[in-house]
Every structure is written in structure tokens, then in C-alpha cells.
Amino acid sequence: MTSASELTMLQAVNEALHGEMARDERVVVLGEDVARNGGVFRATEGLFEKFGEQRVVDTPLAEAGIIGSTVGLAMAGLVPVAEVQFLGFSYQAMHQIAGQVARLRYRSRGRFEPAITIRAPFGGGVRTPELHSDSLEGQLANIAGLKLVAPATAADAKGLLATSVRDPDPVIFLEPLRGYRGIRGEVPDGEHLVPLGEAREARTGDEVVIIAWSHQVELACRASDALAAEGLSVAVLDLRSLVPLDLAGIAAAVDRCGRAVVVEEAVQTGGFAGEVVATIVEECFWSLEAPIVRVSGYDAPYPVGQLEDTYVPDEARIAAAVRRVLEVA
């Protein structure tokens, strides 16, 4: 049996990076302020001291250059783990992410292995300046050739990141800003791997299933617990990875509950929640006893501090949505 420690998501991410760099010397970490400073959130703390300036590199301030160079590093047989300081700045590198990283294997017909991981913090609730909190999953999921991973717990942050670094395909690894210090939990010591594409039942239940990922899982669980007090049995399905998507896991939960709420923080139109709804309709339309409700951000840019709490879905909005799908006879 393996021992475990109580860690924050941030510590879990850091532990995974230490573990992977120690395990595989092909792993290199690059990005803005990731070396001497250990990252602006300390996610890469200690790597520079432990693995040296050759493998842990502070790059110039140039996202397209950073992501573009990971393509070349992969061609050289290395395993780059790049940090985009905030997901909103991945836009500066979108041509490299969508047109190059995502297509390196495809274009070369398997000659080059894009074992590239791009880590980026995202999501709101911590009063950041503009473009630091934006949720872009819906946009990234539409780019063929990319995997999209979004852990909700400290254990998964470690296990999914380790798996992502080892994965032969490019992975965008999303780390919730609010979870860095706000989410903590038991994390297995030593090697810990969690497969991509297997959703996790964060709460069991059979009346409604709330489907979520990343920090929204935490909120969904709180809503589920609150509703349990009212005698409602509300399941929470943590997708863990959006690409690959656990079609069977989603179908099983919806078939069982017959009612579903999908939660995300992004702009509603074109968000990934829409994809989840479409998937449910394709997978288990006949099990549906009520329309699926989306709880999301609004069709407006992620706002400044004073309006953040209005924009970001919270426990109350999620609970209200659950009640709504239950009201339908």
C-alpha cells in the first residue's frame, strides 16, 4: 500500500513535475519566470535548483516563441513541458498550438512524436487583472490533435499531470487559479498516474447528475451536499479530461439519473458545456426526463474584480439549476 500526504493542488503540480523530471531526463521545463523564480505561483519551485539551467529555462517574453520551440524540442526527441503564465495568453501562441503542436504527428505521418505538455493556470475568483482568468476550453477542444486535461483535485493534479507528461500526444493541462491554494487533499506519495479519458464520480446520486470539470467540480460537490440535506440525491461527474472525453461515463450517469446540469465558467455561447449537452443528446437522448441546463458564465468578457462573483457560477446557481431540472415532472 502507498502512503499519502495532504497537499494543495499547487504542491501536487510541483510534485508531479519533480517526479517526471527525475524519472525522465528528456523532460525540459520552459516558460516565463519558471526557473529562478519558480513560477509566479511557485508551481515550478525547486526545479531549477534541482535539475539545473539546462533543463529548467526562463525564456524571453514570447508565447509563440515558447510554444513554437516546443515543437522543435519534440522533433529533437525531448519532452518539453511549457508553462503559459496565464491561459489567456495562449492566444498569442494559438497559431503554434492549433496549427503546429496539434499537427506535428499528423503532418509528419507519425515521424515526429509531439510529447508536449502545455501547463496554464486559468479560471476566476482570485481578483486577477484582465485576461488572467479566461476559460478557453471550448475553443481548445475544437482543435483536433490536442488533448485537454482539467483536474479538480490535488490527487488528480499530480496523477493527471504525470500522465500528461508521459502521453505521446500534446496535452493542454489546465490548472484552476482558485484551486492552487484553495483545493487540498490526500495525494499518494511517489509515482501516481491517473489515465486520461476516465471521468470520476465525485458524488454518487440518482436523481440528477451535475457534469463539471476543474474548479467547478468543487462547487458542484458543495451544491450536491447542500441538496442532500434536503433529501435530494445529486451525482457529480468530474470529467477530468475534455479530450479525450469519457462518452461511456457520461452516458452511464445520465442513463441512471435522467436529468443533467452542465457547469462551466466560460462564456456560454460556444463553451464546452454545449459539447457535453450535444454528446448527451447523441448518447442517451431517450433517458432524458428533462431538458439539460447549462450553468455558465455570460456572453460577455470575464469581468474585473467587483463583478467577478456575479459572473462566475457559484454553489447557489448550480443548486438552483438542479432544482429547475427536478421541477420538470
Binding site: R36, N37, L61, T310
Partner: protein, 337 residues
């Protein structure tokens, strides 16, 4: 190219001292949790204030990065007022009145640089005489947008002053890891435009080069790249701990070149500045600040502001979202059938 008059130098110093004083107050308010993360101006005052004084607020534009507002008094008192509103997290903090030719702060680094080219180009198309000065840091200079913009401006001969504030750091990344260039002004030749490097702690020198660049731009001579060499005397932002990476001896050396001390010494020698002047300016700066901050904290916020100005008119979906939002602001806002 004109040297600033002694009156101008004194006016510049007044703005610099006021900025430094207000920056200290703002830092404390941040520590009290009354304002959000912000980037201190310390060390950058001479470059910003002298640039502002070399420009004509009635015709010229300033496109800032995020460190500049406190030293832009020349462009109007609203710059301070809105900056404080911005810092308390109010959306209207990014709105300046039509009369103030200053753009909102830019968080997505270097994206304001192509904006400057379009704005300057547009003004020439409209036969407006103004020049656009755009600020960006040494770190930002590595972004592709700066390259695309400077090259485009060279071709269009757009009246732009590209003001690269080289404070030696991009958060924890030192200049030598940012670029192998001997000087960031060396980028200019690659775009066929003039490039000047100036000691950004010397207000008079900055005024001169900006005045020269502005004069050239107004006479159809096109853009100029100005590198202002300064040193970031404070933390990158209130969220940063520079002791992790800034060599103390470098910081010490830089403090000895504090732009404010330099200009004070100069003007004291001319009998144009003294302790009382400083005391008065500091006192006035704080009075101004405290009044504006009080108004900023009292400024009302409505949940609907979340959707205001996204489009000129709400779409069907936005109208519903707004209705739900207002109906249940803060508690429930998902789309209702």
C-alpha cells in the same frame, strides 16, 4: 530638438514627486486589501513624466502599458481618478473622457503597440496633426506584436513614438535573458526607422529625445524607437517578491541614480526646489489622492455592468442573460427557458 525650460523641468519634477508619493499610498492600500494587484511606478517617473510633458495633450495620444498612470498628470486629473477606480476593481476605471487622449491600461503585453500604429495612421488619414506615443517594457519587446507594429509603422511612416521602457526586468527575467541585443534601440535599423537610447532617469534627456521624435513624426518623418534605460526600484507587482531574484548590489546602485534625487539635486542647485517644495507637493498629492480614492471606493457598481458595452445592443441571448442576472444577481443566473 528642444531642451526643456527650467519651468518645464520643475513641472516634471512636481509630477514625479506626486507620483512617487501616491504610489506609496497605493501600496499601503493594497496591503490593506483595499485595492487589487498593481505594478509600482518607482524608478520610472522621469521617463513617463518627461514624455508626457514633451507631448501635447490636446493633439497627441499616449497608449500605456500598466505602470504609467500616476505620472501622466499632464494629460488630466481624470487619469489618476480613473486609475484608482480601476484599482478598486470597477469596470468604469478603464473609461477616460473624450478629452483625455490616453488609452486604457494594457494587460495583454505588447498588444497596444499595433494599436498605436493604426491610431497614428488613422490620424494621418484624417489629417489630424497628433503623434501617438506607446509605452512597452523590455520584456514586452520580445513579443511578435512589437516587431509587426514597428515594421508596419516604418512602411506607413506612421507618426508613432515607440517608447520602450527598459527597466532591466520582466518580472524575474533579467535583460540578458530577454535578449542578446546590446541595446533595444538597435531594433530600429531593422525597420528602417531611427532608434535612440536614452538614460531614462534623466528627465531632461528623455524630454529631448521624445521632443525630437515627436517633431520628426509631425513633419512626416515617420516613427522613432526610443529605448529609455531605467531600473525597476520596486517589486514587479504587489504579488511579487523581488528578493528572490534581484541582486541587492544592483538595486543599491540603481537607487543611487534615483530619477527623483537626480532632478531634485539639479533644481536645488538652480534654487528652484527645496524641502518645502517637496513637502507641499507631497501633501497636495496625498490630498488629491485621498479625495479621489474615497470617491472610487464609493463608486456604485451594478451587476448589469457585466454585460454593458459588450455590444452596442444586447443579442437575444444576452438580453435573457441580463434579465436572469438582474433577477437573481449573485445567486442564480443560468439561462432560463
Amino acid at each position: 530638438m528642444a531642451r526643456p525650460t527650467e519651468d518645464q523641468l520643475r513641472a516634471i519634477l512636481v509630477d514625479m514627486v506626486a507620483a512617487r508619493t501616491q504610489a506609496g499610498r497605493l501600496w499601503n492600500l493594497q496591503r490593506q486589501g483595499r485595492v487589487g494587484t498593481l505594478a509600482p511606478i518607482d524608478g520610472h517617473e522621469a521617463t513617463i513624466a518627461a514624455t508626457a510633458h514633451a507631448l501635447d495633450p490636446a493633439e497627441d495620444w499616449i497608449l500605456p502599458q500598466y505602470r504609467e498612470p500616476l505620472a501622466l498628470q499632464r494629460f488630466g486629473p481624470e487619469v489618476l481618478e480613473q486609475y484608482l477606480l480601476y484599482n478598486v476593481g470597477h469596470p468604469d476605471g478603464s473609461r477616460l473622457p473624450e478629452s483625455v487622449r490616453v488609452a486604457p491600461l494594457q494587460i495583454s503585453l505588447a498588444t497596444q503597440v499595433p494599436h498605436a500604429v493604426g491610431l497614428a495612421w488613422g490620424m494621418t488619414l484624417r489629417d489630424e496633426p497628433g503623434v501617438v506615443t506607446v509605452f512597452f517594457g523590455d520584456g514586452s519587446s520580445s513579443e511578435g506584436d512589437v516587431h509587426e507594429a514597428m515594421n508596419m509603422a516604418g512602411v506607413l511612416k506612421a507618426p508613432v513614438v515607440f517608447l520602450c521602457m527598459n527597466n532591466q526586468w520582466a518580472i524575474s527575467t533579467p535583460l540578458h535573458q530577454q535578449t542578446a541585443a546590446a541595446s533595444l534601440a538597435d531594433r530600429a535599423v531593422g525597420y528602417g526607422i531611427p532608434g535612440l537610447s536614452v538614460d531614462g532617469t534623466d528627465a531632461a534627456a528623455v524630454y529631448e529625445v521624445v521632443d525630437e521624435a515627436r517633431t520628426r513624426a509631425r513633419s512626416g518623418g515617420g516613427p522613432t524607437l526610443v529605448e529609455a534605460r531605467v531600473y525597476r526600484l520596486g517589486a514587479h507587482t504587489t504579488a511579487d517578491d523581488p528578493t528572490r531574484y534581484v541582486p541587492p548590489e544592483d538595486l543599491e546602485a540603481a537607487r543611487r541614480d534615483d530619477p527623483i534625487d537626480r532632478l531634485e539635486t539639479h533644481l536645488e542647485a538652480l534654487g528652484l526646489w527645496g524641502d518645502e517644495d517637496r513637502a507641499t507637493v507631497q501633501a497636495e498629492a496625498l490630498t488629491l489622492f485621498d479625495g479621489a480614492f474615497e470617491r472610487a471606493e464609493a463608486w456604485p457598481t451594478a451587476p448589469g455592468a457585466l454585460m454593458d458595452h459588450c455590444f452596442a445592443e444586447d443579442s437575444q441571448r444576452m438580453a435573457r442573460q441580463r434579465r436572469d442576472l438582474l433577477g437573481v444577481a449573485g445567486s442564480s443566473g443560468e439561462e432560463v427557458r
